[in-house]
Point group: C2
Chain length 183, copies 2
């Protein structure tokens, strides 16, 4: 995974979106992204929750808030990066995944946008690709996870995180963890 992959969560609303936005951040980290960027209402609770997981379970993974997401997207494109917006109205994943994998393999940086309830129309225009994870209503958390899982073809599920204080020992029953306080 040499190219950089960053997730942009648009339109966060305090309280209402707190848990969903936290799940978006945790999924971004667990499924191989390099960073999550939140926009919308600034929310220390969400940033803190995701940062705490990075501290305990390892990284590297950046957690950032930006106010001006339009500038952020423009800059990304000016620097040659690809912008992908996940939306149920887009081209269905199986019909576009090969193009997307190809671009990433060629070293293009990816900005993956997931919105909250209402995504401004301009996002559909700014995106290089509007991609649906099935054209049914479900969840931005699920859409992000499945998109990254297809992009990385399952390799992200066995990714090793650096500096982890806690690791799971996979087991058929119960909860086994290893704690490493030295890291």
């Amino acid at each position: 995974m040499s190219a950089r992959l960053v997730v942009l969560r648009l339109g966060h609303r305090r309280r209402r979106d707190e848990r969903i936005s936290t799940h978006v951040g945790l999924v971004a980290r667990a499924f191989g992204a390099n960073a999550i960027i939140y926009s919308g209402e600034e929310d220390k609770n969400v940033l803190t929750s995701v940062k705490k997981v990075v501290l305990n379970w390892g990284g590297p993974f950046d957690v950032i808030y930006v106010r001006n997401w339009k500038n952020m997207i423009s800059d990304w494109k000016k620097e040659g990066g690809i912008v992908i917006h996940l939306t149920m109205y887009g081209i269905n994943l199986p019909d576009i995944i090969n193009d997307v994998r190809c671009l990433f393999a060629q070293g293009k940086n990816f900005l993956i946008i997931v919105g909250a309830e209402k995504v401004p129309g301009i996002v559909y225009e700014l995106a290089d690709y509007n991609i649906a994870i099935g054209n049914q209503p479900h969840s931005e958390v699920a859409a992000l996870a499945v998109f990254l899982d297809w992009l990385f073809e399952g390799r992200e599920l066995v990714k090793n995180f650096k500096g982890a204080k806690i690791r799971v020992v996979p087991s058929q029953r119960g909860k086994k963890i290893i704690k490493n306080d030295k890291s």
Copy 2:
């Protein structure tokens, strides 16, 4: 998809889990399950939200509440069904997916359990399989989606729903839908 696949959402808490539990229900439907069963606190808002999506976007898909989930799991097992609990502490998906696909292909009915914050220890014992979608903390919404996507090998993303009043026409820009009020 001849065998029956049902998702059981354990430990729902009103308000706090409302949106996450709704996303779990919508993911269950969109990713090919036959039904979602909620347990924990009874919550009409969640049931109504998911049922409304079935009404507009098609089915068949059942939305049910059960109080006694232990009995439900016992009955499932007595009738020869397989119980799979998704948990970050379990066997990692890539190491178990072939066994699971094989059982489903043989016609075994699947009950897929996803918990809220704390899952009672007995669930780890009752489950035939405790499976992790990567051994990292993330989201039950993501775990369910990726599990079903691996089980159905992407076929669920092009599933046709019956009786849909609304369908998306996949497109590179904007939102195109077809409304069918006769169904």
